[in-house]
């Protein structure tokens, strides 16, 4: 049997650092990797390549290989700017094809409990972008969590005085879902936030 100081043991420890991976999953992944050396080489190379090439865009702070990123340099609407918490949120909105403006990634949300202060987020950078005067509307797309909502409120207080329109993503019943299967709390909020047709 292999000892935990062995290379196999080290692999297990590294795998367990990944989110959602526990003891059992780590073991399963490690044994799977052992069985397919060719895939392992490709995986190892891609991991190293990712860390050497992917970085944050100096304009919007989304992940990119070229700085500034494709969205920042692309042909987009300069007048609307969508503010999100994480790079994966940009991917989610891009998938929707509903937004043609540019983005700004905060890289987190305000959270006094975890010691996250405004200065740790990309808020100063956001304000500098807004000062250039091209943006007419900021769409706040932070999460609908306690932290995301507080961040939205914090940004609203900063941005509104600049005379820029601030909007928030709508929330409520998921599209395509049957009302009867939506949980009561969501339905309650959707009823309270109903809109005129």
């Amino acid at each position: 049997m292999l000892h935990f100081s062995s290379s196999f043991g080290r692999l297990l420890l590294e795998l367990k650092k990944l989110p959602g991976v526990g003891e059992k999953t780590a073991l399963r992944l490690a044994f799977h990797l052992l069985k397919s050396p060719a895939n392992v080489r490709a995986l190892a190379e891609s991991l190293l390549e990712v860390v050497s090439r992917v970085r944050f865009c100096s304009t919007c702070f989304c992940i990119t290989e070229d700085d500034p990123c494709a969205i920042c340099t692309g042909d987009r609407d300069d007048a609307t700017l969508c503010v999100v918490e994480e790079p994966q949120d940009v991917l989610a909105i891009e998938r929707s094809q509903a937004f043609r403006g540019r983005y700004h990634v905060l890289q987190g949300a305000l959270s006094p409990l975890s010691g996250i202060t405004p200065s740790q987020l990309r808020i100063d950078e956001l304000m500098r972008r807004l000062e250039q005067g091209t943006v007419g509307e900021v769409v706040i797309a932070t999460n609908f969590s306690v932290e995301g909502e507080a961040t939205a409120l914090y940004l609203t207080r900063l941005i509104k005085p600049l005379g820029i329109r601030v909007t928030r993503l709508a929330h409520g019943i998921p599209i395509g879902s049957d009302l009867e299967y939506v949980d009561a709390a969501t339905v309650q909020r959707a009823v309270l936030g109903r809109s005129e047709l």
Binding site: L110, S111, E147, D183, A184, A185, Q188
Partner: protein, 357 residues
């Protein structure tokens, strides 16, 4: 149920009216009630954690039940494992507690509540939260959000950081106003009931009232939902809050006062008057849930008979039997249950975590 507290394995088939668990103390009677409540709400009315709920030498506990209503049968299954509570409804897992809500309404009545009139405010707040939760589906979420915002704001006050305090104060005020609004709506919903039931139980024409107290925010228009004024009040106590590193006003510090003919029952009421008031309150709560959901809740009575005198006891039992609801009662002595007839009841004797029918 399986490996739940001191109950290794038990299986009961309760009737649709009175079900009595009797036996000596510490045999597992209240554990049975707790398991029923847990199955309906995923919460323990004793605020117990899984560690305490799972039998000491087992790694998981299971409770399952069959719920029958208007001819529809549903299977509910709850597994307690580690810190997790997994619930399956008709064999399908549920992800959110709120998906589950409305399946089963429960009202607990325990000796702690009988004494809550004189007790500490947190006992009354716990009662109120539990009561509002069982009649307002959105309350849990609002309460949860409020608690989280409060934690953030307290962390902020302790850290001394100023930059985001205004933001969290505004979020806090919004959540506080919403929470208080729902509590007040519940209290309004039971107001007439409390008065009527009190008169019925006590045989007097006394005027009883529940008054919601929100210290330091009464003038700030907390009750009328004036967020701006609540924010102002918070700003005024900012210095003190920073010094003490916590939020000093808001629903987590509120209280309800029981008034008899305008006087605080806590100070002037006799023990009998206090108990009658709580009984009236519970009856009103049951009637309120029945009006809202069109069906009476299931009632869990934890050994309150021994705490009530014969007259009040009988009166309460009569109320229950005329409301045709399912009731689970624990008692050390069957003679304490003052029902006109025990004939329609199902009785279960408990001994050392085992049920002897």
């Amino acid at each position: 149920m399986q490996n739940f507290r001191n109950i290794r394995l038990a299986d009961i088939e309760p009737g649709d009216s009175f079900n009595i668990f009797f036996g000596y103390n510490a045999q597992g009677k209240t554990n049975l009630l707790e398991s029923i409540y847990l199955l309906a709400t995923l919460k323990s009315f004793r605020h117990a954690r899984n560690r305490e709920l799972i039998n000491w030498d087992s790694s998981q506990a299971r409770i399952s039940g069959v719920l029958e209503r208007d001819g529809v049968v549903r299977d509910i299954e709850l597994a307690l494992c580690g810190e997790g509570r997994k619930v399956r409804l008709d064999g399908k897992s549920l992800h959110r507690l709120s998906d589950f809500f409305g399946t089963l309404n429960m009202v607990v009545f325990s000796p702690d509540e009988l004494t809550m009139v004189r007790g500490m405010p947190d006992a009354r707040r716990r009662y109120l939260d539990r009561a509002v939760f069982s009649s307002d589906p959105g309350y849990l979420l609002v309460h949860h959000e409020y608690a989280k915002i409060l934690k953030h704001r307290n962390a902020l006050l302790r850290s001394g950081e100023d930059g985001q305090l205004e933001t969290w104060t505004e979020r806090f005020a919004l959540a506080a106003v919403e929470l208080v609004h729902r509590r007040l709506a519940f209290l309004e919903g039971i107001r007439e009931g409390v008065q009527a039931f009190y008169r019925e139980i006590s045989g007097s024409d006394a005027e009883v009232r529940l008054s919601y107290r929100t210290p330091r925010l009464e003038q700030a228009g907390m009750a009328s939902g004036d967020v701006g004024n609540v924010i102002k009040a918070l700003q005024q106590s900012a210095m003190e809050e920073r010094r003490r590193g916590m939020t000093l006003l808001g629903p987590h510090r509120d209280d309800i006062e029981f008034l008899l003919n305008g006087h605080p029952l806590k100070l002037t009421g006799s023990q009998g008057e206090q108990r009658s008031f709580v009984l009236a309150l519970k009856m009103a709560e049951i009637a309120h849930i029945r009006r809202r959901f069109g069906i009476a809740p299931i009632l869990l009575l934890d050994d309150i008979s021994s705490e009530l005198d014969e007259h009040r006891n009988r009166n309460f039992m009569e109320f229950l039997s005329t409301h045709s609801m399912q009731v689970f009662i624990t008692t050390t002595d069957l003679a304490n249950i003052r029902l006109a007839s025990l004939a329609g009841c199902r009785k279960f004797r408990l001994e050392g975590g085992q049920i002897l029918q």
